[in-house]
């Protein structure tokens, strides 16, 4: 009796299983068309990509484009590489993952792609700088960027007659004025360590050379000589934070800023949707982090948020280029911008979110540098080290550790860089 129950259960389970596997299984159709698969890492933009996919397939008879937007796409992508089942095109961020993919020779040189000429030079330079060792060729088409600095509550500023600061002293004075009025100037979510990087990157753009990491890899300088001022100013910012900023996370800070609990928030444009989910009517604007004593020296912190690369596994380069050209058409970019808050990398004027008003001049002039953390190996956990430093307060201890850790975590890269330099000198 018991046995029969179990046997029935097992058979039933197996039946359900086969039904599901039959429906889940779809082999590559043999229809004589070229199939291009693309995997992009922004699941939040899935609607825009579905629309693009539809439009592309409606206008192209010989190519079938499939765009996947899986959750936790970077893990999925890495497993696809392991399975030797890489997609033809990948949509990833311009960060250390990209550097690693270039270094591991997984991406195709697309320097003969004509669409590259449409892209702002500043973003192409940013991508080029991400290569550990200068590599012959072009490996990515920058698509959209984001920018970081200081977000502010436009209404609060207007009501109180506060002015946008353009130098460090003005910024600190403003914070004091806001405090004197009984309000909170800044709110941090430093419990989530990555948010420590937002002000850090923005200050480093102003105060440290853009290629400081590469200089260190070449053995030309040390972080303790370059990052000192950045670290000092981080501590100064902390004086104007809410009480115990390490107790609150990114979401707490977004909610607090959205509810008018602070006038400013040192974060990137990417945080705007989360803030506006709490307060949809909030009028947010931004300004460039005024880290320098001279307003003209300030530089916008902007990096490539989404770029497309063709993998080495791609068998049909022409078809992939066709897809890339389609993605770069003005109407396609507009489809993306309608859905997501972003700065297009194409050298043409698009209508941008009002939250970027204060950064517009810098964007148009191309006066910007990449996020420093894009050069940091993620396993070094610089974000956590900054948090440790902010709690501890010792600049020297922090930067000395930064220097020793850097040499350890980047050992293989440093060796490559130095081999490259030695080779170049011959």
């Amino acid at each position: 009796m018991k046995k029969r129950v179990i046997a029935t259960a097992l058979v039933a389970a197996m039946l359900i299983g086969t039904v599901f596997s039959a429906s889940g299984c779809s082999s590559e159709p043999n229809d004589g068309k070229t199939h291009i698969t693309m995997l992009q890492y922004k699941p939040e933009a899935v609607k825009a990509f579905e629309k693009m996919e539809e439009e592309f397939n409606a206008t192209h008879d010989d190519i079938v484009l499939t765009i996947e937007s899986p959750n936790d796409a970077m893990t999925v992508l890495k497993t696809r590489f392991i399975k030797e089942d890489a997609p033809d095109i990948i949509g990833i961020g311009g960060d250390v993952n990209f550097s690693n993919f270039v270094d591991a020779e997984m991406l195709m040189d697309i320097s003969d792609f004509e669409g590259l000429s449409l892209i702002k030079q500043a973003y192409k330079d940013i991508d080029k700088n991400l290569e550990f060792v200068p590599t012959e060729g072009v490996f990515a088409v920058p698509y959209v960027a984001n920018a970081a600095g200081v977000l502010y509550n436009r209404e609060m500023f207007k009501d109180n007659g506060w002015e946008i600061p353009t130098t460090w002293d003005e910024f600190m004075d403003l914070c004091e004025t806001i405090e004197k009025s009984g309000q909170q100037p800044l709110y941090f979510g430093f419990k989530d360590v990555w948010t420590c990087l937002a002000p850090w990157n923005a200050l480093a753009c102003d105060l440290a050379p853009a290629d400081v990491c590469r200089q260190v890899n070449k053995g030309e300088t040390k972080f303790i000589d370059e990052y000192g001022e950045v670290a000092e100013k981080m501590l100064e910012l902390l004086e104007h934070a809410q009480k115990d900023p390490f107790a609150y996370n990114y979401n707490d800070a977004c909610t607090a800023f959205a509810n008018g609990e602070s006038a400013m928030y040192t974060i990137g444009s990417y945080a705007v949707p989360q803030i506006q989910s709490v307060n949809p009517d909030m009028d947010i604007d931004s300004f460039v982090m005024p880290g320098c004593d001279n307003a003209e020296d300030n530089v916008l912190n902007s990096g490539v948020d989404l770029q497309f690369c063709v993998t080495n596994d791609c068998e049909n380069k022409e078809a992939a280029y066709e897809v890339l050209s389609f993605l770069l058409e003005d109407s396609t970019i507009q489809t993306y911008l309608d859905d997501q808050n972003a700065v297009p990398c194409k050298d043409k004027e698009f209508e941008l979110s009002p939250a970027l008003d204060g950064m517009l001049d810098y964007i148009n002039e191309g006066k910007m540098t990449d996020y420093q953390d894009h050069y940091y190996p993620s396993e070094m956990a610089v974000d956590a080290q900054i948090q440790t430093f902010l709690i501890d307060g010792s600049v020297e201890k922090f930067l000395n550790k930064f220097d020793t850790d850097w040499l350890r975590y980047n050992r293989d890269i440093i060796r490559k860089v130095q081999e490259y330099e030695a080779g170049g000198n011959k």
């Binding site: 890495k78 590489f81 270094d103 591991a104 419990k191 107790a247 996370n249 396993e379 709690i391």
Partner: protein, 283 residues
């Protein structure tokens, strides 16, 4: 006689395929992982052999050392807290109480809630509610207390499972044992110590090993509560292995870490099993 398999043959016919399956999906990948621990593999692309460099690094890496200290401190306290509360809870839930099913159901819920929910709710409790009650700062932003907050959350979640195992263990204690004990005048603590506990020792040792293992490999609660902070004070070994191995580019190095960690836990568990095993034999 030919048709009938002997007891031993039957056992062998069961055990060998099971061992084969286990070898195929556990040991084989482990051996491959062991191989990666001698490389600078990033998880993808090309790699080079680096000999014992990863192992040498491991023993000089302060961060890894710190993570071992944290993990053991955490696992020890969490195992004790979980097992004491779970055993009491199991005895209670097995007692003569009303609404038994409902109560058992309620106490089981923590184990089912996902990490996102637990992280948010307890994050909120520790960040806003507790400081408002105690007047002190958040436990999570203090390097001295953050680990205790994680112990609380981890225990809160795993007590459900440990209790369940104790409850099913208590089912093997026949009721006449209690009745016989009652006649002898053994009540409360004495009856538990002399009658019930010896009978559930196999379950006690299973729970000790299972919870020790779960806590030594703690990862979800860390991700949900602190992500290793504040000031890198709550980085567990699994946190490093996963985040730096999978998420970062240290796959080879963290494979070496995983190998050493595996050896350490096996050693502890063998010791634990031997210890409780001796206890079982004595009784």
């Amino acid at each position: 006689m030919n048709k009938k398999l002997s007891r031993n043959q039957t056992f062998l016919l069961i055990t060998v395929p099971v061992l084969a399956l286990f070898f195929c999906f556990n040991t084989l990948p482990l051996i491959k992982g062991l191989m990666y621990s001698f490389t600078n593999f990033r998880g993808f692309g090309s790699y080079e052999w680096v000999g014992f460099r990863n192992y040498a690094d491991l023993f000089t890496d302060a961060r890894v050392g710190k993570s071992y200290l944290f993990t053991f401190k955490f696992a020890l306290l969490a195992t004790v807290v979980t097992n004491v509360i779970a055993l009491l809870l199991a005895l209670g839930l097995n007692g003569k109480i009303r609404a038994k099913s409902t109560l058992r159901g309620v106490y089981f819920i923590p184990r089912i809630l996902g990490g996102l929910v637990v992280g948010y709710i307890f994050g909120y409790i520790f960040t806003y509610i507790l400081p408002a009650i105690t007047g002190k700062g958040s436990m999570l932003s203090n390097t001295g207390t953050a680990w205790i907050a994680i112990v609380i959350v981890a225990a809160w979640q795993s007590i459900a499972q440990t209790t369940l195992i104790y409850i099913s263990g208590l089912q093997t204690v026949p009721e006449d044992v209690y009745e016989a004990g009652a006649i002898d005048g053994a009540t409360g603590w004495l009856s538990f110590k002399n009658l019930t506990f010896p009978l559930i020792i196999p379950f006690f040792s299973i729970n000790m090993v299972l919870s020790m293992k779960d806590f030594l490999m703690v990862f979800d609660q860390i991700m949900a509560m602190t992500k290793g902070g504040p000031a890198q004070s709550t980085e567990s070994i699994s946190f490093l292995i996963y985040n730096n191995g999978m998420g970062g580019g240290q796959f080879g190095f963290q494979s070496a870490n995983a190998v050493i960690f595996f050896i350490v836990i096996v050693a502890i568990s063998v010791f634990q099993l031997n210890f409780t095993g001796k206890k079982e034999e004595q009784l």
